[in-house]
Assembly symmetry: C2
């Protein structure tokens, strides 16, 4: 089906269906000049936004609409999670080229709506327009957090334990399959591809970590652990020590790295798009926080390193050897 | 200068400069995973977002960066104005093709920042990325309003006076000069082009109208008076009567229409992109509201028609003749 067959307002009706899952938070949803929504008493407001453009962030021919919609929202939710806030509403702007079929767009919104519903996030507005060549998606997510429980990149202190909410490097290994057009044949490899396509936003975990008061700084791992940890260190004027054997590496990534003769630590440090949370925690509270965390979520909080008062990141091997690691981040214009 | 010369983070530093004009509202600005900001006590939150794509909404070669930046923000502020809210923060996502020069982008942000500063709006975040072909700009604006003073498209009542905060049709006439590549030689024609390029967001006026409690429904005139009034009527299950001789037509539009032998009423009804506010006001309060409004802003609030209980819009001429008018709106996929 072509968009021309249903028109702009037909499309808006279609994508607005089932988009409000927490109506009690809403004053005005899709259909007015702006959306209006309630504010939880005593909280502050948060907003994050991400722009995805075809041929830069994704290839329309190589992705399913579902995965595209899911991940577009997931990366925004992850930013709200990293601040320790709850995500309430998403606003989706979409620029649609002539040759984009309604079925593909239905799939995009199905991916978004399923993830949104899982996290009780309303899709509350946005903008719909044409585009000459590329499909364009911008999502803004609004959230809230109690005034004194916000996490940020600054605040890491010398001696803090550096913790991760999940394994790192899987997404980068999954991308290897996608870029080389290799169908993952084993369940292990499928898990790597899944990590890349359908990243989990750690919203509940972020909210919990923020509420404990033990976390001094946090970020989500989007560009790679070394790069994102670097942002915390820069904002906090701190350094870090990472223990190579404490970096959480998944069994699928171990197997993959053995097969391709790569160091999993490299993948873990430079990988990117894992969207786990990295946080620095008061050293005295880290062990008990990790126990509480595991009891609550049934998953480990990995204590991977410590903040130092020297500059940069030092990687320390079990052998006692150490090296400085580069903070290689992604520059869109380099 | 090319973006490659300054890099993504160089560009972000550049555009973040001078972007916070009301620091007391801000908790976290550009540089963290999400922006965080304070909430005025007892108010509700609003959000609007607009996506502009090159070759759909503008021609990069035919516009100045300043005008592009100014108008991109103005149309969003206008949506907040139509809800009767105050705009607090803007979030700018930008997708930049290789051949877009830093000087042009500096101009885009200069246009945005000047308008933002005029209305005490912070530019508090966004996203910066590459784009293969087209320049892409998405702006989201967050605002606040007292709980009981929100205006919306629904709520218009039979008998309400239909009011406009400014003249309509000028922008469409201005577009005529731009599309036909005619340099406006007179001050009058320059005012028409100006109306198209640098529309005024009626934020103070919207906030005032909402605070009076006399307004039942409101919208900003973006698609044309007949189309936008149609949205109010649809949401409010009402009809309307418009008096042709009461439609505010500017002297420059009168002169222009005389020269091109067109009916200014046509331009006024179907024009679009005027971004004045249209509202329906309790009939008993309309006259005194117009007096108050003029005293406060030194501009007229034009009483142009009345809501009725029949369907659609009826245009009534001074002669007593009348006709039904079509609600022709813009469909991006038609």
């Amino acid at each position: 089906m072509n968009l021309r067959d249903i028109g702009e307002f037909g499309f808006i009706d279609r994508m607005a269906r089932g988009s409000v899952v927490k109506p009690e938070r809403v004053i005005k949803a899709i259909g007015d000049d702006a959306a209006a929504y309630r504010i939880p008493a005593g909280e502050v407001a948060l907003l994050t936004t991400d722009l995805l453009i075809e041929r830069i962030h994704f290839l329309r021919k190589a992705t399913s609409g579902y995965n595209l919609g899911y991940k577009s929202l997931a990366v925004n939710l992850s930013d709200i999670a990293a601040m320790g806030a709850a995500a309430h509403h998403a606003f989706v702007s979409i620029g649609i080229p002539d040759d984009c079929r309604v079925e593909f767009l239905d799939d995009v919104y199905r991916g978004m709506k399923e993830l949104a519903a899982e996290h009780e996030v309303n899709i509350l507005g946005g903008d719909t327009t044409g585009s000459k060549t590329d499909l364009v998606i911008n999502i803004a997510v609004a959230g809230f957090a109690p005034k004194n429980e916000l996490m940020s990149r600054s605040g890491a202190k010398n001696g803090d334990a550096i913790c991760l909410t999940g394994t790192v490097g899987d997404s980068r290994a999954g991308l290897h399959f996608i870029m080389n057009n290799i169908k993952p044949q084993t369940a292990e490899n499928q898990r790597l591809v899944q990590a890349h396509l359908l990243p989990k936003p750690y919203l509940h975990e972020g909210r919990f970590l923020a509420s404990t008061g033990a976390v001094h700084a946090a970020i989500d791992v989007s560009d790679g652990l070394s790069s994102d940890l670097g942002h915390i260190l820069k904002e906090s004027h701190a350094g870090a020590r990472i223990y190579a054997d404490k970096i959480p590496v998944s069994p699928p990534l171990h197997s993959f790295c053995e097969r391709v003769a790569k160091d999993p630590v490299e993948f873990a440090l430079a990988g990117g798009e894992d969207y786990v949370l990295a946080c620095t925690v008061d050293a005295k509270k880290a062990e008990s926080l990790a126990i509480q965390y595991e009891r609550k979520f049934g998953e480990r909080l990995y204590i991977t390193g410590a903040d130092t008062d020297s500059a940069g990141i030092e990687l320390i091997y079990a052998s006692g050897e150490s090296k400085k690691i580069a903070q290689t981040g992604w520059d869109h214009f380099a």
